[in-house]
Amino acid sequence: MELICLGHFVLSHNPEVWILGELMLNCSWGGVGGDSIHRIHPALECHSLVVSLSSFLLRFNYRSTHHLTSNGFYEFLNWFDERAWYPLGRIVGGTVYPGLMVTAGLIHYVLNLLHMTVHIRDVCVFLAPIFSGLTAISTFLLTRELWNQGAGLLAACFIAIVPGYISRSVAGSFDNEGIAIFALQFTYYLWVKSVKTGSVFWTIGCCLSYFYMVSAWGGYVFIINLIPLHVFVLLLMQRYSRRVYIAYSTFYIVGLVLSMQIPFVGFQPIRTSEHMAAAGVFALLQAYAFLQYLKDRLTKQEFQTLFFLGVSLAAGVVFLTVIYLTYTGKFSLSLMRYLCPPPRYAKIHIPIIASVSEHQPTTWVSFFFDLHILVCTFPAGLWFCIKNINDERVFVALYAISAVYFAGVMVRLMLTLTPVVCMLSAIAFSSVFEHYLGDDQKKDKEGLGPNIKSIVTMLMLMLLMMFAVHCTWVTSNAYSSPSVVLASYNHDGSRNILDDFREAYYWLRQNTDEHARVMSWWDYGYQIAGMANRTTLVDNNTWNNSHIALVGKAMSSNESAAYQIMQSLDVDYVLIIFGGVIGYSGDDINKFLWMVRIAEGEHPKDIRESDYFTPQGEFRVDKAGSPTLLNCLMYKMSYYRFGEMQLDFRTPPGFDRTRNAEIGNKDIKFKHLEEAFTSEHWLVRIYKVKNEGSSRTSSFLRKARS
């Protein structure tokens, strides 16, 4: 909605972009209007807003925000969450980027101050759409600085509807990235502004925006490397000026001091190698400026001698310092992590990272899916920018090249590519429309004629309409269904909502002891903590690999071995996801090999992956499956009582629809566990660990006390 106001504002000033405005309105019904509708779509569709807030990671953010608003900022910083990562607990204040929670808390505080009583939950739900509006505005401002107003307007339209960004900004997606992209774009706008003007005012603004970015997302590393790179390339291109000197010197010092104020970041900016480029460029810029100064004072001969002496001395000093610091371990050479493709790095080092789908490289299909026409037109924008180069266009070219590399390496980083693609595409479209809309400006040159011009314009508009339609389709299909509610379609196209997750979490909430500890695979940790309000062992943010491996070991051992582990971890309930009844493929049996692999990484003597395969090397759940698999805890919990169940007349009893196989072990009995709850479609199954020995105090607590 902001965009439409913005559009009118620009239109009243600039008659040349009238038709662009029309184009934008064209988009606005399918796009910008649709954008706000679609961003809020999931929230409206499900009855309560709570549901839409329930994607896995986000529940944690909401819980922390709730803690912040009810207990105050300092209490939040010192918060020790004993419900997470049982029995270790988690210090939340020092291990999160607090920007998101503080922003939501601040909005809530201001609204309450104005006597508008809004629940913090509603603030959280609508935070992402609000920030996507702000992102559109800052993209407009940045593109206007780079090219012109018309391109800015188009860029704002694009970013408002592009699927690559909508994925993070639907209502209810209460996520760091949602606000971070606004901070990113706004920081870049202020940076370009300060390079253009050379005024300390804009630079300080840039630093404050950078500070906000640091507080919001770990991706701030991208900024602190891109801006020095820009300065460095400007130096190489001999585009050094006082403006650049003032802007970068101020930015580096103030930005550094501000970024170190975030507890989670701390002293990283002066220790780790990913921040070293900024320091190096800072030193280089000072040296360059000093040489410029000397050049005015000395003769050419003297200057040359001094120059070579100075350069070799400086190079030697830097080299020795780096070696010394690396040697003493104060400075880690972790740059490899960024240069070598992360999936490959991760595959070698930690199976847990390789198991997360967001760390995969990007296929061309996901580029096209997320960017549609923009992906084929933005190179044209890059071409125009480089052809008409100036200080700030150097910046956007570097931004595009680095972002496209990172997006290619990791699907998740598509998010940082999206804004620059919108800007460059807007530049490409705008420089075409500029010449094909309206009358010929130059009278001395023969024009192309109205026929050709209108054909080109029509076709271009068709393409843009296709883009708007695509965005609407993607948003309504792919990105706006809350992940906690599954939808299935019948043969006649009608939709069933499977509400098993919520059913199970509410069962946990209502029927178990308040301090009960629930073991599950880490994907469901935040959901259990957030929706059932029970203590979990591992969750989506657990970085303690051995802890996860222990849970994996329990799941993949036989019942009695698993019981020992569960006793030592004080587990009261075990929760698993089973999709065999409805054919849901994201269930725990399909994830099971990852549990085995992660467990094997830490306990190679007890768990071996090859034991879970048939001699032919297949992973099968039917009779031919390996006996280790057929008797492990996860298998037994998933298929308990399933052997008696006949789903269909055509299939035998105990037929697993997900894996299309009749299960191999139908006679499952438990000794140490009992079934506590199974949801309507068997999607969630909860087992109670039998409490043997009435006065069992937790062995861990006993150990801790003694």
């Binding site: 493709p341 999936p343 490959r344 490289p361 990007t362 296929t363 061309w364 299909v365 996901s366 580029f367 096209f368 899916f369 026409i373 992906v375 084929c376 037109t377 933005f378 190179p379 044209a380 890059l382 071409w383 125009f384 480089i386 052809k387 180069i389 070219a397 595009a400 090249i401 496209v404 590399y405 997006a407 290619g408 390496v409 490409a428 420089s431 075409v432 010449h435 094909y436 040159k445 023969e446 192309l448 004629g449 050709i452 054909i455 080109v456 076709l459 271009m460 068709m462 393409l463 296709m466 339609v469 695509h470 389709w473 992956e609 090859s610 395969f613 001699p615 032919q616 090397g617 297949e618």
Partner: protein, 320 residues
Amino acid sequence: AVGMMLLLKNVTNSLLCTKTLLMEKVGQMMDWASKRSVIRMNGEKFRRFVKAPPRNYSVVVMFTALQPQRQCGVCKQADEEYQILANSWRYSSAFTNKIFFASVDFDEGSDIFHMLNMNSAPTFMHFPSKGKPKRADTYELQVRGFAAEQISRWIADRTDINVRVIRPPNYAGPLMLGFLLAVVGSLVYLRRNNLEFLYNKNAWAFAALCFVLIMTSGQMWNHIRGPPYAHKNPNTGQVSYIHGSSQAQFVAETHIVLLFNSAVTFGMVLLHEAATSDMDIGKRKIMCIAGIGLVVLFFSWLLSIFRAKYHGYPYSFLMN
């Protein structure tokens, strides 16, 4: 007593015979191994040196199908790893005649495949120095993969011989870099009086565009995952260049996408040039038509490929 003597003589005789046979066999094997780290065997050699009993050495055999008409991509990769392993053993200081590495190609020894009842290649088998191969002597390729380190671990498991895998360092990367630097350096040196070309915007813009197009067409995915160039259906012989699923891609497919993306980009640039350049009006009109044609045609083509891969996508433009 004479009978006893005769028997004894016979036994010693046969023992001696075995001994010389064994010596001969080991000598022959060592001779081959010194020529090639992986001994290539046909059916007859295999029976004589691996199957026949007097043996005090283990043999690891890779059963494979390397002939090009067999179209076994995995065999080639497995073969490379196997060569690395065998070379590491051949040139290590611990090299002895306790273990040999051999390979049997399907087209040279298909009777062996039938004899061992084997119907898939590549397969690694270990023939111990004593007794028949057990179940664990067949390497679980599906589970453990064919990395040389994995195979060496398996060998250590079966024979107590540790082969330290030494990969020959990959000189290709540094060499390419050096070559590139040399070319750039010599160019700069040749043109040292006139460095104007460094300020050539077209060249820089072209390089930037190449990089961007390479990245957006998913070459990084190819680099990490290493998919085949295209898929040939073994039954019909039909070659498909486009992978059917949206989760994966072929190399050929990414080249097509690269081409289409650059065509659309080129069309946009042409449109802009047609409106701004100083050429005569006829040429500019042709440029303009060509530009819009390129943009519309290749974009709709791209959309149709996307539609074929992303099942359930409803929209298309100009072509299905």
